[in-house]
Structures are given as C-alpha cells and as structure tokens.
C-alpha cells in the first residue's frame, strides 16, 4: 500500500510539472501572486460550488492538482494565455449566457485583471498552497489488505473463511448451524456448481462414502464437469447481456451469437484465469498475433443492441452502444455505476463527467465488424477427418493420373486413359468439404480515421463540447492507468490490463463477491452492482479482502492459482460456512433475518433455466449436449407473434434439441421465452448483475400447466411406473422422492401422497375420459391401469411443483 501511494504521488507530481511549463525556481518573484491575489478571489467567488464536496461540472478549484486538470468543459486555464482561458472568459462575462458565478456578486474588473495577470505569468500555484491531496476514503477504493484469519478460543470450522465468519458470529451473539446432511449437501453442490440434480446413485454413493475426502471428491468431480461451464457461464452471460437477436424494433436474429456463448462456456470449463478472460474479451483484437478465439472473445461487447429500425440514425445508436460498453465494463469489473456521469458529474461517487468520457473514449474507436472463426471443436474435428479422407482420394487419383501421363509422350487431355481421370479429379475437387466457419460479430480497433472524443452535453451525441479533447484514461480515484507505450494513447488493451492489475483492488473484490453471491445467495457486499458510496458496505470486509487476495494469487503462502475461479469456488465450498444447514429457527429469524452474518446457509429458488432443466432431468429427457446453435423448445402460441410486425417465426426444434438446457434456448429480446422471463431471467437489454428471485402466481401456472412441465410430469410418471422392482405405491413414492428431492419422504409426506394417489384413482375411475386425455401420448404401461397411470401423472405433477423441488437448500 505504501508503495502504491508513493507511486501515485510521483505520478501526480510529474503530471503537475508537465502541466506547469516553467520550472519551480523561475517563479520566486510571482510566488506571492497566488496567495495574495488569486486565492482570495477563488475562495470568495468559486469555492462554494467548486470546492470540497461540491464539484459542479466536475471542477474543483480548492486543490491544485484537481484544478489544473479542469472540469467537464476542459481546462480552466492555459498558463500564459489568459485570453484563451475558460476561467477568464466566464468570469469576465464576454458571453452573457455563460457567466460565472451564475448567481451572487460578480467579479470586480480589478479581480479579473488579477486573474489574467496570474495566468499570463504562468499560473504558478505554490506547493505550500496545493490544498489537501486527499485520497478518496471510501472503503472500496482502498488497496487490498491482508488480514490474518482471527484466532481465538472458540475456533470453528475447516478453513480460514470459517474463522472470519465465526468471529463475526460471536460478535453478534450467534452460533453457526450444524453441517447439513449429506443428501442436502450433494444436492446443493450439484445445483450450485453444475445446475443439475444428483442422480439417485450419486446420492447413495456419497452417503455411503466413508472416505475422509468424500465431500472433496464430489466437489472435484463437479468442478471438472463440462456442465460447470454452462452453469457459471450463464452467470457471466447475464452480465454480458447475451442474446440471440439485435434488440429494438426489428430485433433481427443473430445466428452467430451462440459461438461467443460457447467460447464463454469453454473458457470457464478450462478455468481460463480471470485476468486473461478479461483481457481477451475487452481487447483480444489488440493482443499481439491475436488468435481467432481471442478475436472472437471481443464479442462480449458485441452483445450491445443494434437498431435497424427504418430511419434510425446509425451514429446515435453507435454512440448508444459505446455508452453501454462503458457502463457495462464499469459495472462488471469495478462494481460502479458510472452511468450518471454520462450527463453530469456523479452526485455521489467521485466520477466526473469528464472521466466518464475518458472511459468512453476507449470504446469510441472500437469498430463493429465480423471475423471468420471455426465452428465448434466437434465440427472442426469432423472436418479434419473428412478433409483428410478427401485429400487421400485426391492424392490417389492424382497419382494414378501422373502414372498414366508418364506412359504417354504427348499432350494427353483427350486420351481415353486420361480423360476419365481428369473428370474424376475435377469432380472430387468440387466435393472438397467446406471448412466449418462462422462469421462472428466482433470488435476491432479503428485504425483509419480514428474518432476524437469530446464530452457530450447531457449525453447528447449531437452536442460534443469541443472545448477539450478527451483522452483515454482511468478513474482518478483508482490507481493510474498507464499505456504500455508511453508515447501512444492508452487503448482497450491498456484498459483491460489496468482493470486486472494487482493494484486495482476493485476488480478482485467485485469478482470475489460475485462468486460468493452465487454460493450464498447474497454477496459479502449485498449490493453486488454497487460498490460506490451509496452501496452497502461489506459485512465481512477482512474476509472479502482475504478472498480477493486469494483470487489474484497474491496471498501469503499463495497456494491458489492466480485468478482461478475454480480454485476460489473450491475454497469457498470446502468451508464449514458453506456446508451449514439452511434450516431456519426462531432465534435466527429474530437475530439475523437477512442472514448477513451467515449463521446458516441460504435457501434459494433456483433460476428459470434450472427450473426447466431439473424438471426435464427427472423426466429422463434432458439433453446433456454442450454448446452449439441456440434451440427452439416448445413455445406457447401467440408469443412469437408479439414481436414487431410478426416478423419472427419460432419453429420448434427437432428431437433432443427440444430438451436442451435452458441456457441454449434462443433468446429473442423483444419476445423472450415466457418460461424464462417469468422466473426472472434478465431481458438481456442491459447488464444484469443480480437476478431477482421473485415468487409469483404466474410461476405457479408455468410449472403446473405449461406444456413443457406437463410433458415432464407425464414422463416422470412413466419412469416411475416402468420400474418393475417397485412393487407398491409406497415404494414408488419413495423412489419419486429420492429422484426429485434427493431424500426419502417422511411418513407424513408418504401418507399425504398415498392419499392423493388413492383419491386421484377414484376421481379418474369416475372420469375415464379425463384419464384418457391425461395419459394420451404417454408410453403404454401394461401393468398399470388407466386410473393408476393417470393418478401417477397427477402425483408426478405435484412432485415437480413442490417448493423444495425448485429450491436449493
């Protein structure tokens, strides 16, 4: 930390020197001018709006270094040139519409003269009056600090996380909950890490596993699963506002969008270090010898909307997309909402409008373009096989041709021994397998005719404030962003590296907090999308820093791989804190209803995609294929027609593609699949850092009545009834419970379900037509009567509607 401050100060001083052209000693004679002539004027007329907490138009005039930088309209003065100094223009009242101060007493003519003289003499502002060189004291901007996990008499748990948590629990007079039972633990791990349920066999094996590392084995198996990337990739897709269509009125499909989605899943499965993951997505195109995949990665910022509405001004929506890139980048990596500063300096967080456009300028020269990239690895492999076969065939014919030609001593094209071979060769060449490539939307640095960035008045793209050119730079409250080549402007690659530099404490805190949030339901900073002064402070600040240091691999005894998400996830799920029971009790509800001190695990309704996936899974029809083009599962009638001018046709996919995981459902922005939206899947128009977890009647209607779910209920019934070894309804109820809830039923639950089965049977024997309608389309079951079969469909429908079924406990 000390080192950082020293570096920061040096840079500030260097910057100051560069901006004050003359050397310090040349100013001795004028050094009094500032104190006697200038400071009293600034203090009397300016500081109330441009000093202390108040920084109207991003300008403060009470601190030298800030004053020299200027405000949203550019520099306040140009040393040596009072005529072209904004300060003089405004206070002298040359433009009656722009006079400073806007209210109250104007500057006397002699005061203006004093200011002019001071500027013309070099605007020397002595060090002794430089004002506070305050650093923003807000916790999130401070450097990471390593804290030893608390130790004491009452040590609890397994790893350091537990010691941090337990210290807080004791502080609040709380005690940790006992470890959850094994059935709950394996179900929790499966849902958290891969978003799928454990099979009955998985549960049985884990419960019976007496090895001391049984739990860790489950964790390792799931972290290595190819479904891990689907689960954690989906979290990333929320933040990336990923969709399969353009958005806005026309909302045209983006048939290539899935290629980048698959890149995300692959990168997360490969545990690509988060710093690399960041750099490739923000600036893959700027890397030396960028690979196809690194260029593809930049599609992160091609998830912005595209407006092809007739008559839309393309420049307006280009600027709009750059706003989105600026704001999404800040939100995802820095946990800051810079959006306010698009129109005016941020009211709460120290982000000036000028700084907003400094960030914006990184994206202003990123052009939207396309790049040919290979399709999936599978298709490439198939292509390579086909191509090799084809090459062999060509080689064989060519060889034959050559040997035939060798027998002739003249021009041979029409010879009967040659002609057919020539034709065959031509035919073969036509059949050369095409390289499986796809044209993907990517971002590429504009080199021709680069754009100049200005602050846009109120964010209006037609109103650039041309007083000052904005150059790319980071935020002043964070460590300085230095271009890799100091003679060249910083670019997106510098920005990306700055975000993940070890000095930048925000990115690692924000990222560790995201991981935590997905494993406990709430972050250590509850406002995962706002680490600014209006956000909630961390409940466990030392733990957050400890996790952030672990994440970046700068940890005493740093056994964790730098920027490895999997390592961080493993560290957390191995803790006793994570393994606690989620059962509530009166004391917990009284003392910590929001569970901020973590005396228990959280119960959470699973996400919309997972609701679908686990229902299809217990029905035995979920396709586990990873990746590929987005699919079109059943959609209720009338939904696709809601899109503009009915320009969209939803043709239900064939075969297994109807039963792919929810993450692969084609996402049409203006008409998204209602099953997903009803369960709070974000609409992909803006970045989503934290999904809602609502609980509404429309959700009940989906799982009770929607075609996908009633189909799942029918198949679940068949699955249960077709198990010959289950000889009684009691056996079947037990199996259904184990399949759906990973546990055995209580006697109360068994008796309730048996009663439902028997009542349903009775109702259906009086309503055979209804029973027939219900079982229609199911596989015939020789050993079950019609009313049995129907009663079991009813029961299965209730199983997948249980609160516990769609809840991660």
């Amino acid at each position: 930390m000390t080192r950082f401050i020293a570096v920061a100060l040096t840079i500030l001083l260097l910057a100051g020197n560069r901006l004050c052209p003359a050397a310090e000693d040349a100013h001795t004679e004028t050094s009094d001018a500032f104190a006697t002539d200038v400071l009293p004027i600034l203090s009397k007329h300016c500081h109330s709006c441009h000093g202390g907490e108040n920084r109207e138009s991003g300008l403060r005039l009470d601190v030298r270094d800030a004053a020299i930088i200027g405000g949203d309209s550019g520099k306040a003065w140009v040393a040596g040139q009072s005529d072209s100094s904004l300060l003089i223009q405004l206070v002298s009242g040359v433009d009656p519409d722009r006079v400073m101060p806007p209210e109250g007493e104007r500057l006397a003519a002699e005061d203006v003269t004093k200011l002019r003289r001071w500027i013309d003499q070099g605007a020397y502002w002595p060090e002794s009056l430089a004002g506070v060189k305050e650093r923003n004291q807000h916790w999130a901007y401070q450097a990471l600090v390593h804290h030893e996990p608390p130790s004491g008499h009452n040590v609890w748990g397994i790893n350091a996380i537990d010691r941090f948590v337990n210290a807080k629990l004791q502080e609040h007079g709380l005690a940790p909950s006992p470890e959850a039972d094994r059935q709950t633990l394996i179900r929790r791990l499966h849902l958290d890490l891969i978003g799928l349920l454990p099979s009955v066999a998985d549960v049985d094996a884990f419960v019976a596993d007496e090895r001391p590392d049984a739990y860790e084995r489950v964790v390792d198996r799931l972290l290595a699963s190819s479904h891990f990337g689907e689960r954690w990739g989906r979290h990333w897709l929320d933040m990336a506002r990923y969709a399969d269509s353009d958005g806005y009125e026309k909302d045209n499909p983006r048939p290539d969008a899935h290629r980048w989605r698959d890149w995300v899943i692959q990168a997360i499965n490969d545990d690509m270090p988060f710093d690399q993951f960041t750099i490739e997505q923000l600036a893959g195109d700027l890397l030396a010898d960028a690979s196809d995949m690194q260029i593809l990665a930049t599609a992160f910022h091609r998830q912005t909307l595209t407006n092809t509405e007739g008559g839309a001004d393309q420049e307006q929506f280009r600027v709009e997309a750059c706003f989105d890139r600026t704001e999404t980048t800040s939100a995802v990596w820095l946990g800051l909402t810079v959006g306010c500063a698009r129109c005016h300096s941020h009211k709460y967080d120290a982000i000036s409008q000028r700084e907003y456009y400094q960030l914006f300028s990184f994206f202003n020269n990123g052009d939207e373009t396309t790049h040919l990239v290979p399709k999936s690895a599978e298709e490439i492999e198939m292509y390579q096989r086909d191509k090799a076969l084809h090459d062999r065939q060509v080689a064989a014919v060519t060889k034959q041709l050559q040997s035939e030609q060798a027998l002739l001593d003249h021009d041979s094209a029409n010879e009967p021994s040659i002609k057919p071979l020539m034709e065959k060769l031509a035919e073969l060449r036509k059949k050369e397998p095409p390289k499986p490539e796809i044209k993907a939307r990517v971002l590429r640095q504009r080199t021709q005719d680069p754009r100049t960035t200005f602050v846009l008045r109120r964010g209006e793209f037609l109103e650039p404030i041309k007083d000052a050119i904005i150059e790319p730079a980071g935020l002043a409250t964070l460590p300085p962003l230095q271009p890799r080549d100091e003679n060249v402007q910083a670019d997106r690659l510098d920005l990306a590296r700055w975000l993940v530099s070890s000095e930048n404490a925000l990115t690692s805190r924000v990222t560790a907090n995201h991981v935590w949030r997905h494993l406990f339901g709430v972050g250590i900073v509850k406002t995962a999308n706002d680490f600014g002064v209006r956000g909630e402070p961390p409940t466990h600040p030392e733990l957050l820093d400890w996790l952030a240091l672990k994440l970046i691999g700068q940890h005493p005894g740093g056994e964790v791989n730098a920027w490895s998400r999997k390592s961080l996830i493993k560290l957390i799920v191995m803790s006793a804190t994570y393994r606690q029971s989620s059962q509530l009790c009166q004391a917990l509800l009284d003392h910590d209803p929001q569970n901020q001190w973590l005396a228990r695990q959280s119960r959470m309704r699973v996400e919309g995609e997972v609701v679908r996936d686990i229902s299809l899974d217990v029905a035995g029809i979920l396709s586990r294929k990873v990746g590929g083009p987005s699919v079109f599962p059943a959609l209720p009638p009338g939904i696709a027609e809601l899109s503009y001018a009915g320009n969209f046709k939803w043709t239900v996919s064939d075969g297994d593609d109807r039963y792919r995981r929810g993450v692969y459902t084609f996402f049409k922005r203006t008409s998204p699949h209602p099953n997903l939206i009803t369960f709070d899947c974000p609409d992909a128009n803006v970045t989503c850092m934290d999904r809602n977890r609502s609980n509404t009647p429309l959700q009940s209607l989906v799982t009770l009545n929607n075609e996908t779910f009633s189909h799942a209920a029918r198949l679940l019934a068949s699955r249960i009834l077709s198990r010959q070894e289950l000889t009684s309804d009691m056996d079947r109820v037990n199996y259904a419970f184990r399949l759906c809830l990973s546990r055995s039923p209580t006697s109360f639950e068994t008796s309730e379900l048996l009663q439902l089965i028997s009542d349903s049977r009775q109702i259906f024997s009086g309503q055979p037509d209804e029973a027939n309608r219900l079982v229609e389309g199911s596989q015939a079951l020789s050993h079950a009567s019609l009313s049995d079969h129907a009663a079991w469909i009813v029961t299965s429908r209730i199983m997948i509607n249980l609160d516990e079924f769609i809840t991660r406990q």
């Binding site: 989620s582 009940s700 349903s760």
Partner: protein
C-alpha cells in the same frame, strides 16, 4: 401439526417480518384464514404488511383522484394534424418547402430535407362540446365525449424512432431496464384485486416496436410486471389445466401440494415457503377469475353493440392496422378494460400498433380511426354511466406525432404519408381527476413546434402520478446506488389539468 397454536403464532410473526420475496403476510393470511384462525384479513395499511406484501394496498402520499388507469397506447404514432390539431395555414402552404432555419438542426427518420414540402390535411374539422374542442371527421364518436376530454396539443419528446420513443413514453426515459408506468403504479399503490394481477396488458393487431419492454418491471421485482392477457382462449398464459386435469382434480392436487409445502415450512421455518403457498393459491383463484373476466356473455346486447364487439368489418379495411381482426379485438379490449377496472385492476395497457403511416395516410388513418373511435367512446360513456370515470384515468397517447412535411423518402414520386415528429404532438386524457372540456397548449401555424405551454413526457408522468396521489419525486426505488423515478431527472405537475 395444526393444533400447535404456539407454532402458528411464531410463524405469523416470521411472515410479518422476514419474507424475502415479500408475500409473507398474504401467505399467512391465506393459510390462517383457510384454517379459520384469522377472522379478517390483516389491515392493509399496517406499515409492516404493506412493506412485506408486494400486492398489499398501500396509502398514496396524498388524497388521490384516480384509482385506475386505462392507457390506450396508439403505437406507431397517429397523425395529430389529421385528428386533433387543425392547421388551416398548413393547407395554404401545401406543396411549399420549409424555411431552411427550421430544418437546419432537425433530423428525420426518412424525409430528405432538400426536397421536402409541406402537406396539408384533407380532413373536415368541427367543434365539439361546450369548449368547442376540435376533432376531425375521422373520430365522430370520441368527439361526442369532448366535455370529458382534456386535449393536450403541446406534448414533446426527443426520440424520433419508435422503440426509443415508446420506451420514453412508458418508462420516462429511452433506456432499457426501467419499470413502466403500470409497474410504478402497482409498486406505489399495490393491487386492489385479490384474484387478478394489478397490471394487465391487452394487444390488438400486430406486435409493437417495443414488444415486451413496454410492460417490463425493469429493476422492480417481477410482481410489478404487466401480465399479458389475451382476449380469447386462455386469457393468461398457462392458465388452463393440462388436458385431463378437471377442476376437481386440480383442487385435490393443490390441497396435497399445500399440505406438503406446509409441512416443509414447519420444518424449515422459511417464510419463502409460505409465499410459495400463497402464490399457488392466488394462481388457483386466477384460474377462475380470469376466464370469468373475459367471458362477456353477461354483458347486455346494448353494451356489446355500443362497443362494437361484433360489428362488421369496414368495407375498406386496409393497411397495417388491419391485422388479426383488430377491429373486433380492440373493441373487446376496451370492454375488458372496463371489466378489469371494476375488478380492481390498477393499470390496463391497451396496445394497438397501427399508426405508422409513412404512406397511404388517408386511407389507413380512416380505417384505424374507425377501429378505435366507437369502442373508445363507448368505454368513456360506459365508465361514466357506471360512476367509474371519476376515479379511472383514460389516456390516449403515442410515442410521438407526425410531420407537417409530406414524406418523400428516396424514390417517392408523391407524398402520401408523414414522417415521425417528436417536437409537437397531441395526447388526450379523461376522467380520474382530469378537468375535461379543455384544450391545453398550442402549436404554431403549421404544427411544427410548441408555441404555448409545452409539456414533456416527464411532465405528463409527474401529473399522472399526482392524480394517483403520488409525488413523482418521492416515488423512488434504489437501484445501483441511485434513487430512480418514473420522471427521470425532470417532470413537473401540470396543475391546470386537475379538477
């Protein structure tokens, strides 16, 4: 289990204080009422309950005039110059170019400035009601309601493309991720209906530019999102039981579901389970309330014919408004809106995407106006006759208006349509505390700009909330560190509109 009085009391306390999704109180009332243990529903104005139950009726900031709103969203932007704002001078200047200084800083969606010329309106105009309000001959029925109507001719916006314009009109700003008007109202006031959603959307004809973003709850919880109703078949998505599940079977199944969820609740003590139970019970009640709502058989023959729900198609049905029997579904939607208001639905958004007449303005506008004219007039009169108009705000509005210039996009030989025009357009309102029989604001001789009493959409929203007893500056929601409002960073109440 049910005999355990102590546990129930504890549970009740938990619900009141800790439900994360907030349905806790409703859940406990539902559970305990069914158990016969709670005599009456909990006091809706109890501060605890109104913060925990997202549907609970909440007190506004001050006495409201309006309780419900029916918003007639005329998406695509109808021509105010041919319906509400007559411009004789425009007719005189027909065929003339506009002075350069007017065009200098203006952008158009399609018009080519170099060759653009003004286009008069062939409409016949007449004055209606005590105030002599202007209507063109295309809206003869609505014109008869002039004494209830406040005609605002001075609305302006800065968005001149459909989707951004519709977002501004719906959310107060042309950005995604924000709540729409109906979401703000149900968030601010709760829902009066125990069996139906508080915010309902009805559409006629083709899909709108804005699609689902026009009824999104944005960053507000999804309780406050608009629920799309269809006016035929299943009124709400997934409302009908799967084939083979009778009403009797459904109830029997839900009883077991409830019992199992309750037993889980007693074990886990998680108020979210109680919320889930309440959600299933409300879903079940919706299964009968929603079909009853859209079943208009009980309406008198006079009412049905007043709205025109069975009227014959217009002999010259044409254009983008003539899709999927819009003339019938729009009429039916107006009638359903009244039925919803009667049943306590807070906000009904009727969307008719039909008005984007870049060409063929005259015949398309004639048809679209015919589609909406009779049903809207019937709605206003029906509400009034039933004493509902006083507390039901009816709004006709669109994302912008249309240009006095004829549209001359490349290749056009004749001007038969108008382009998008956000600088001055017309919106009208009736009921719900609006002082009818007045025309507010003025545009210049050709309808180009506002010359008196300009009203931005943020001002309109501020006034709309005011009618519901809500101060637009106080109705806020903290998201990403900022307290968001429907009126973004502007908006002032237009007091001359109020009774």
């Amino acid at each position: 289990m049910r005999s355990n009085e102590h546990k129930i009391e504890l549970a009740r306390r938990n619900f009141l204080t800790t439900s994360a999704s907030g349905l806790g109180l409703a859940a406990v009332s539902a559970m305990l009422q069914l158990d016969g243990r709670l005599a009456s529903p909990a006091n809706a104005n109890d501060p605890v309950s109104s913060t925990t139950n997202p549907r609970a009726v909440k007190s506004p900031h001050f006495a409201p005039k309006a309780k419900n709103c029916i918003f007639l969203l005329q998406a695509g932007a109808p021509s105010q110059l041919d319906l509400f704002d007559p411009k004789p001078r425009l007719n005189e200047l027909h065929g003339q170019p506009l002075p350069d200084e007017l065009l200098d800083k203006v952008r158009f969606a399609f018009i080519k400035k170099e060759s653009a010329v003004l286009m008069g309106s062939p409409r016949k105009w007449s004055k209606h009601g005590k105030s002599g309000m202007d209507f063109s001959d295309f809206l003869p029925h609505v014109a008869t309601c002039a004494d209830d109507i406040l005609m605002v001719r001075s609305l302006h916006s800065e968005q001149f493309n459909h989707h951004p314009g519709q977002l501004l009109l719906s959310c107060g700003r042309a950005s995604f991720g924000l709540p729409t008007m109906g979401s703000w109202l149900t968030y601010g006031l709760g829902s009066e209906s125990q069996n139906l959603p508080g915010y309902v959307v009805l559409t006629s004809g083709r899909g709108s530019s804005g699609g689902a973003s026009l009824w999104s709850s944005g960053f507000l919880p999804s309780h406050y999102a608009g629920v799309l109703f269809r006016n035929e078949g299943d009124p709400v998505l997934n409302l009908s039981n799967p084939l083979g599940i009778s009403a009797q079977m459904q109830r029997r199944s839900l009883d077991t579901l409830k019992s199992l969820n309750e037993s889980r609740y007693w074990q886990m003590c998680d108020p979210e389970i109680a919320s889930r139970i309440a959600s299933y019970e409300l879903a079940f009640r919706m299964q009968s309330a929603a079909p009853e709502l859209i079943d208009i058989k009980s309406e008198s023959a006079t009412t049905l014919s007043d709205y025109g729900v069975e009227r014959a198609q217009h002999p010259e049905a044409t254009g983008r408004g003539n899709v999927a029997n819009a003339h019938l579904s729009f009429a039916r939607n107006c009638l359903l809106a009244r039925r919803m208001v009667e049943r306590g639905v807070r906000f009904v958004n009727i969307i008719y995407e039909a008005w984007d007449q870049h060409s063929d303005l005259e015949k398309d506008l004639r048809y679209n106006s015919w589609v909406v004219d009779q049903p809207i007039a019937a709605l206003l009169k029906d509400l009034k006759q039933r004493g509902l108009l006083d507390n039901t705000l009816v709004v006709w509005g669109a994302e912008f208006g249309r240009t006095p210039l004829g549209e001359n996009r490349n290749g056009r030989t004749a001007n038969t349509g108008r382009d998008h025009h956000p600088f001055a357009f017309t919106l009208w309102m009736a009921g719900g505390g609006i002082k009818g029989g007045q025309t507010y604001g003025e545009t210049d001789d050709i309808g180009w700009g506002v010359t008196r009493d300009p009203v931005h959409i943020n001002d309109f929203h501020a006034t709309l909330l005011h009618l519901f007893g809500l101060d637009h500056l106080q109705l806020t929601y903290r998201n990403q560190g900022r307290d968001f409002r429907l009126t973004d960073v502007a908006g002032k109440v237009v007091t001359p509109w109020l009774t």
